[in-house]
Amino acid sequence: MSERKVTVGAEVGLHARPAATFVRRAAEAPMDITVCRASGGTTANGKSILQIMGLDVRQGEDIVIRAEGDGADEVLDELAAIAGAP
């Protein structure tokens, strides 16, 4: 299992464009992708726009993205870049 901790950079948080872009990239990955706050709590399916919106992550909050399997590190790097982008 690989993971990336990233601070959400967009003013709107992980909603709207950042959320849609994140989920689209995650959905292309063959493995499961999970997202949760670094502080814990609910774990969301990174491929579900409904669950990502439900997580309601705001700008400046830290999230942990996890994936396992071949290519996980590459996918996680891309997802972390999307989530961290201003």
């Binding site: 709107v12 909603h15 709207a16 464009r17 959320a19 849609a20 872009t21 689209r24 579900s48 726009i49 409904l50 919106m53 439900g54 309601d56």
Partner: protein, 148 residues
């Protein structure tokens, strides 16, 4: 099959006409949009279920089948930080389809330089699962599209 109702009164238009590529390109999901009547109104729940997320400018209702519908009141309206919107329900409430959720004034949104058009999105849905989308005049609570 799930029937999704029009959350506001106005003219139903294709998502492709929404002036925000996140919605017009279907990135958030399939659905349709309503160009709202320019008068104060109440946006209603498009389906029965639980209000999973309630922002002044947008809300998500999740039905007992786990399927969620997003209603976004205007474009870039997150920037208003709630000004001009009045919540008529609370996050976590159970609502019936057609029940008022947020009061707003599309004319005021437009006067502020933003589009008041309302995307109505089937979340986590395949593009082809949304059918029968109405085009033209609708009242709040009218059938808007089917989600197969």
């Amino acid at each position: 099959m799930k029937t999704v109702l029009a959350p506001v009164e106005g003219v139903a238009v294709p998502l492709s006409s929404v002036p925000d590529p996140v919605f017009s390109a279907g990135m958030v999901g399939p659905g349709t949009a309503i160009d709202p009547a320019r008068e104060p109104g109440k946006a209603v729940a498009p389906i029965s279920g639980k209000i999973m997320k309630l922002h002044p400018h947008a809300y998500v209702i999740v039905g007992d089948d786990g399927r969620g519908v997003l209603v976004h009141l205007g474009i870039d309206t997150v920037q208003l930080k709630g000004r001009g919107f009045q919540l008529l329900a609370a996050e976590g409430d159970r609502v019936s389809a057609g029940q008022p959720v947020v009061a707003w004034d599309p004319a005021a949104i437009e006067a502020g330089g933003r589009s008041p058009v309302c995307p109505v999105i089937a979340l986590d849905a395949a593009q082809e699962s949304v059918t029968g989308a109405v085009v033209g005049g609708v009242h709040a609570g009218d059938e808007l599209f089917q989600w197969e």
